[in-house]
């Protein structure tokens, strides 16, 4: 005849027929999930999605703006402190200490400093060992945590 079948077709045919029968039996009892949606939900969905996108973009701009505003206001405040110190000083001479404090404050507020930048200038008497919490975590506790938290898998798979 010239026709041919896939490999092992007839061997798996019984299983396929019985599976179809089981599915047909199930769907004769239950043909839908029972879930429903609010009226007009799909019609109004576009507006909600675009609204969320716009809201996200506006809040990104606002947070950038408020950071810049804070930096700007801090700079003004530091300048005001400096001017006030200069003007309120009864002595005719402006001392190095007056300038130093105000300019140091301004520098500290405006420069992007991290802990490593400041650490060399801290004496050991300024650091209290009690401020550092010593925590030892047992290996068995880590294992228990990993076993109980199934979404850790998402950290190690795509």
């Amino acid at each position: 005849m010239g026709f041919k079948t896939p490999d092992h077709y007839f061997g798996s045919l019984d299983a396929a027929i019985f599976s179809r029968m089981e599915e047909a039996n199930l769907s004769s009892k239950i043909d839908c999930s029972g879930f429903k949606v609010p009226d007009g939900y799909f019609e109004n969905l576009d507006g909600k999605i675009f609204g969320s996108i716009e809201k996200e973009e506006t809040s990104k701009i606002a947070s950038l703006f408020s950071w810049k505003k804070a930096a700007y206001l801090t700079g003004i405040a530091a300048s005001v402190i400096l001017i006030f110190n200069i003007l309120s000083n009864t002595s005719d001479e402006l001392t190095f200490e007056d300038l130093e404090t105000a300019s140091i404050e301004s520098y500290l507020m405006n420069e992007d400093l991290n802990a490593y930048d400041i650490a060399p200038y801290l004496g050991s008497n300024e650091i209290n060992p009690d401020d550092f919490v010593k925590t030892t975590i047992k290996t068995s506790d880590i294992e228990d945590y990993l076993l109980q938290n199934s979404d850790v898998e998402s950290l190690i798979t795509d």
Binding site: A15, S19, E22, E23, N25, L26, S27, K29, I30, C32, S33, G34, F35, K36, V37, P38, Y41, F42, L45, D46, K48, I49, F50, S52, I53, E56, S150, D151, S154
Partner: protein
């Protein structure tokens, strides 16, 4: 495939992306919604996840490589977002994922967006006893009648494995319904 290629190009181009995105939402919103709803069960959660899915698609369209169909890629994002939502809700309620799923089914009785009867509630309980991936396979085949070839692309599993998984799921569910 050409029309999909053209749609992706329009989604990536600044002057045309908004209109193209509206078209994309219109094409896929219902299918994606029902896929998500079958996972999270609550309409409010499904609504959140669906919106997050479309926003992620909008933001990441440039990273879509075209190795699979656009729909498969979106479906994958929707699945991951839905599973993340479930896990987050379970943690927030200090429950295991299995216990949280049972809780969502208990809540269906009083849910205005569930019009099912006792047998449909039992079916949900039966589905919740399956391994997570098998739940996905069952929902996608039984309720959405997704072809195995499409499912294979979405779940990155062979068609043969999916067929076997589905038929095992049907058998387990039949057993559960008979026993209960």
């Amino acid at each position: 495939m050409d029309s999909e290629f053209e749609l992706v190009n329009r989604l990536r181009s600044e002057p045309t992306k908004e209109l193209a995105f509206k078209e994309l939402i219109s094409l896929y919103k219902e299918r994606l919604y029902w896929h998500i709803r079958n996972i999270v069960r609550s309409h409010d959660d499904a609504d959140d996840v669906l919106q997050n899915t479309f926003i992620k698609v909008f933001r990441n369209i440039h990273s879509f490589k075209g190795e699979s169909k656009l729909f498969s890629w979106m479906y994958r994002i929707a699945t991951n977002e839905a599973l993340t939502q479930l896990n987050q809700n379970a943690k927030r309620n200090l429950l295991s994922l299995e216990d949280y799923q049972q809780q969502t089914i208990d809540n269906l009785k009083a849910d205005v967006y569930f019009e099912g009867n006792e047998i449909q509630l039992k079916l949900q309980r039966a589905i919740a006893t399956l391994p997570h991936k098998q739940q996905l396979v069952f929902n996608m085949k039984y309720f959405q009648d997704i072809k195995y070839s499409e499912m294979s692309e979405i779940l990155e599993t062979s068609e043969g494995a999916l067929k076997a998984s589905y038929h095992i799921a049907v058998r387990k569910i039949e057993k559960f319904l008979t026993k209960n």
